[in-house]
C-alpha cells in the first residue's frame, strides 16, 4: 500500500543524485574519522579512540551516579547494615520482590533484618525502595551484569546484597542531593 | 580437435533438445533449452562467428529464456497438473506432431543436398567480427533489418495496449 504523506519534494531533491551524494558524504565522513582514529589505538599509542564504542567485555563504561543498577544494602563503618527492617521498601516495591524478616538487636538501632532477600529476576530497577528508605540503607548500585541461566541463583540473599559504604559513596551523595530537593 | 569439439557441442545440443521435449517438468525443459542455446553458441564460436555467439547467449539464454522461466515460476507450474496429462495419449496431437517432424526433416535434407555442403566456403579475415556484421546489417540487409524492427515495435505496442486494459 502506498501511503500519501503529503510530502512535496523540490526539483533538487527529486533528481535524487545530489541527495545520494549528501548521504554518502555523511557516512564516509564517519568512516574516515573512525578509520583514522583507529590508527593510534592500533599502535597502542593512544587508548582514547575517536569511536566512542567500547570493546565491551574487555572495557567497561563507568556509569554516571544516576544509573540504577541492582539494589544493594549499605554496610556502615561499624560493619553492620544500616537497614532497620522497617519494611517500607517491601511494601513500596511494585514487583513485590523484597522479602524481609526483622529481628531485635542489641545495637542502637534496635531492629535489624534477620534475612533480607531480593528476587533480581523480578526487580524492575525502579528505585522506589531506595527512595522510600528512611535510613538510606538500600541504594541502587552500578552493577548491571546480573543475568544468569538459573532462576534460583537470581534470588539474592542478604550476604550477597551487603556492600560497604565506601563503594557506594557516589550514589549516596547523589541521592542526598536529588531527594534533598523535595525535603524528605 | 575442432571436429571433436563440434561433436561434443552437437551431441549435447541434440541430447538436451531431446530431454527438453520429453521432460515433464517445465523448469527442467527450460534449462535444457538453455543448454541447447549454449551449445549453439559454441558451434557459432567454432565457425568464427564470435559476435553471433555472444548475441545468441545474450538474447536467447540471457533474456528470452529468463522470461520463460519467470512466467513458469509466476504460474508456479509443477509438471503434475492435469492439463499436462491431457497431452498423454492424444492420438491426433501425436500424429500432427509426427507429420510436422517428418516434413521438417525432409525439407532439411533436401536443402542440404542441394546446397552442396562438401565444398566449403572461403571466409575473409574479419569474418564474424562486430564491425563486419554491423556493416552488412546496415548496408546490404538494411530493409529486412528495419522491417524486423518495425515488426517488433508493433508487437511491443500491441502488448502494451493489451496490458493496459483495465480489469474492473
Amino acid at each position: 500500500m502506498i501511503v500519501n504523506r503529503n510530502i512535496t519534494m523540490t526539483w533538487w531533491e527529486r533528481i535524487y543524485l545530489p541527495e545520494i551524494f549528501r548521504g554518502i558524504s555523511v557516512t564516509s565522513n564517519h568512516f574516515f574519522r573512525n578509520l583514522i582514529g583507529f590508527i593510534p589505538a592500533l599502535l597502542n599509542k593512544d587508548k582514547k579512540r575517536k569511536i566512542f564504542t567500547l570493546y565491551y567485555p574487555d572495557e567497561k563504561v563507568e556509569f554516571p551516579p544516576a544509573y540504577r543498577g541492582r539494589p544493594v544494602l549499605v554496610v556502615d563503618e561499624n560493619g553492620t547494615e544500616r537497614c532497620v527492617a522497617c519494611g517500607l521498601c517491601e511494601i513500596v516495591c511494585p514487583a513485590k520482590c523484597i522479602e524481609i524478616q526483622p529481628d531485635e538487636t542489641e545495637l542502637e538501632k534496635e531492629r535489624y533484618p534477620k534475612s533480607f532477600s531480593i528476587n533480581m529476576a523480578r526487580c524492575i530497577f525502579c528505585g522506589f525502595c531506595e527512595e522510600v528508605c528512611p535510613k538510606e540503607a538500600i541504594v541502587m548500585s552500578d552493577e548491571c551484569e546480573i543475568a544468569d541461566l538459573d532462576r534460583n541463583k537470581m534470588f539474592y540473599k542478604k550476604d550477597q546484597l551487603l556492600i560497604s559504604k565506601n563503594k557506594l559513596q557516589k550514589r549516596l551523595n547523589y541521592i542526598k542531593e536529588i531527594y534533598g530537593k523535595w525535603n524528605y | 580437435m575442432e571436429l571433436l569439439i563440434f561433436f561434443i557441442f552437437g551431441g549435447v545440443a541434440v541430447l538436451a533438445a531431446f530431454l527438453m521435449i520429453i521432460s515433464w517438468n517445465p523448469v527442467a525443459a527450460v534449462l535444457n533449452m538453455i543448454l541447447v542455446m549454449f551449445c549453439l553458441a559454441g558451434l557459432f564460436v567454432l565457425l568464427n562467428a564470435h559476435f553471433i555467439a555472444a548475441i545468441q547467449i545474450l538474447v536467447y539464454a540471457g533474456a528470452i529464456m529468463v522470461l520463460f522461466m519467470f512466467i513458469i515460476m509466476l504460474l508456479n507450474l509443477r509438471g503434475n497438473e492435469p492439463i499436462w496429462k491431457s497431452r498423454d495419449k492424444n492420438v491426433l496431437l501425436s500424429f500432427l506432431g509426427f507429420l510436422l517432424a517428418v516434413g521438417a526433416f525432409i525439407k532439411l535434407f533436401s536443402t542440404l543436398k542441394a546446397s552442396g555442403l562438401n565444398q566449403g566456403t572461403q571466409i575473409g579475415e574479419d569474418f564474424g567480427t562486430t564491425a563486419l556484421v554491423g556493416k552488412i546489417l546496415f548496408t546490404d540487409y538494411l530493409l529486412p533489418f528495419e522491417i524486423a524492427s518495425i515488426l517488433l515495435l508493433v508487437a511491443i505496442i500491441g502488448a502494451v495496449m493489451l496490458a493496459k486494459t483495465k480489469i474492473d
Binding site: S28 | F51, I57, V66, F70, M73, L74, N76
Partner: protein, 357 residues
C-alpha cells in the same frame, strides 16, 4: 608452449586474486566498513593465539564454520538444481574477468604481452552475455527450494534483473560509440590522456551504469530480492553451509567485476592521470627494455587494482548508506528513468560524434 604458459599465469593471477584475496577479504571489509561508518567497532573476536589482527581472521573462521555446517536440502526440493544454482551464480562472476584487461601491452623479451586473458573482439557483449546468465542462479535457487519466500525472492530477482539488463546494455552503448570499439583492451588504451577518460566523455553513462550494475548485483539499495525484513532472505533462504557461502562469494566477486568494469570503461583503466606510459619508459631508459617494461607493467597492474579497490569501497559505501527502494520504485527507476535517459544519452552522443566528424 610459451603462449600457453603466459595464459596460464594470467588465469592463475586473476583466479587467485579473486578467490584467494577478494572473496574472503571482502566479507571482512564489508563488516568492518559498515562498522566504521556506523561508529561501531566491528568483527574482532576471532583470534589465533590471542592475536585478533583487527578481525582479519574472521574469513578463516567463516570458512571453517561453513565447511562444518550441515548441508541442508529441504524436503520437496529439486536436489540437482538446488545444488547446481550456487555454482551457476559463481561461475559468471568469475568468467567476466576473462575479457577485462588489467594492464596494457608490454614488450618483454621481444614478446608482446597483453594483460588480458582473452582479448575478444566482442568483449563488452561477452560481458553482458555472461552476466545475464547470473540470473539463472538466483531464479533456479528460489524455484528449487520449494519455499514460498524463496520463490517470491527469485521472482523479484528475475524481474529486476531483466529490467536492468536492458538499461545496462543501453548505458554502455554511448561508451563504445565514443571509443569506436567493443574490445575492452582498445577502450582501455584509448583512455591514455586524462581528458579522454570515460567519466568526462560519458558522465551520465557512468552514473546510470553504476546504478544498473548495483541493481544487477542485487545489493542495497536494490536488494528487494533478498529483503531480509520482508521475505527473510529471498532466494537463498533454504541454503546453508558452503552453498550459502557460494552465494555470498558470487555477490562479492560481482562487486569486484563491477569495479573492474567501471575502472576500465570510465576511469582510464590502467593509466595514471597526466603520466603517460611513454613518460615512465623514458624515465626508466637507463634500464634495458625488458626490465623497464616489467616495471611499467607492475606499475600499471597496481594502478588498476588501486582503482578497483576504490570502487569496491565506493560500492560498499553506497550499500551502507542508502535504504532499500520499494519494489515499484525500482521498476519505475529502471523503466521510466534509466531507460529513456540512456536512450537520450545515445542520441546526444551520436549527434555530438556526427558534428565533430
Amino acid at each position: 608452449m610459451e603462449d600457453f604458459l603466459i595464459t596460464t599465469a594470467k588465469v592463475l593471477f586473476i583466479f587467485g586474486l579473486n578467490m584467494g584475496v577478494f572473496a574472503p577479504l571482502l566479507t571482512w571489509v564489508e563488516r568492518k566498513q559498515s562498522a566504521l561508518m556506523q561508529d561501531r567497532i566491528g568483527a574482532n573476536r576471532a583470534d589465533i593465539l590471542g592475536f585478533s589482527m583487527i578481525g582479519l581472521f574472521h574469513p578463516i573462521a567463516d570458512a571453517i564454520k561453513m565447511l562444518a555446517k550441515e548441508d541442508f536440502i529441504p524436503e520437496g526440493a529439486n536436489k540437482i538444481m538446488h545444488t547446481l544454482s550456487p555454482i551457476i551464480c559463481v561461475v559468471p562472476a568469475l568468467l567476466t574477468f576473462a575479457v577485462i584487461p588489467f594492464g596494457g601491452e608490454y614488450v618483454i623479451g621481444g614478446k608482446h604481452i597483453k594483460l588480458v586473458i582473452a582479448d575478444l573482439d566482442v568483449g563488452l557483449i561477452f560481458i553482458f552475455a555472461i552476466s545475464s546468465l547470473a540470473t539463472y542462479g538466483t531464479v533456479i535457487a528460489g524455484w528449487s527450494s520449494n519455499n514460498n519466500w524463496s520463490l517470491l525472492g527469485s521472482l523479484r530477482a528475475s524481474a529486476q534483473m531483466i529490467s536492468y539488463e536492458v538499461a545496462m546494455g543501453f548505458t554502455l552503448v554511448g561508451v563504445f560509440m565514443v571509443y569506436g570499439s567493443l574490445q575492452l583492451t582498445q577502450i582501455g588504451a584509448a583512455q591514455e590522456s586524462f581528458f579522454r577518460w570515460g567519466i568526462f566523455l560519458q558522465p551520465l553513462g557512468f552514473f546510470m551504469f553504476l546504478a544498473c550494475a548495483i541493481a544487477e548485483n542485487k545489493r542495497a539499495p536494490f536488494d528487494v530480492a533478498e529483503g531480509e525484513s520482508e521475505i527473510i532472505a529471498g532466494y537463498f533462504l533454504e541454503y546453508s553451509g558452503l552453498k550459502f557461502g557460494m552465494f555470498y562469494m558470487a555477490e562479492f566477486l560481482e562487486i569486484v567485476t563491477i569495479s573492474a568494469m567501471v575502472t576500465t570503461l570510465f576511469f582510464g583503466a590502467w593509466h595514471i592521470p597526466f603520466i603517460s606510459s611513454a613518460l615512465i619508459l623514458s624515465m626508466l631508459s637507463f634500464l634495458n627494455e625488458t626490465l623497464a617494461n616489467i616495471i611499467l607493467m607492475l606499475i600499471h597492474i597496481s594502478v588498476f587494482w588501486v582503482k578497483v579497490i576504490f570502487f569496491i569501497w565506493f560500492q560498499m559505501t553506497i550499500r551502507w548508506t542508502l535504504p532499500r527502494f520499494r519494489y515499484d520504485q525500482i521498476m519505475k527507476l529502471g523503466w521510466k528513468i534509466l531507460l529513456p535517459l540512456s536512450l537520450a544519452n545515445i542520441l546526444v552522443t551520436g549527434i555530438v560524434i556526427l558534428i565533430l566528424q
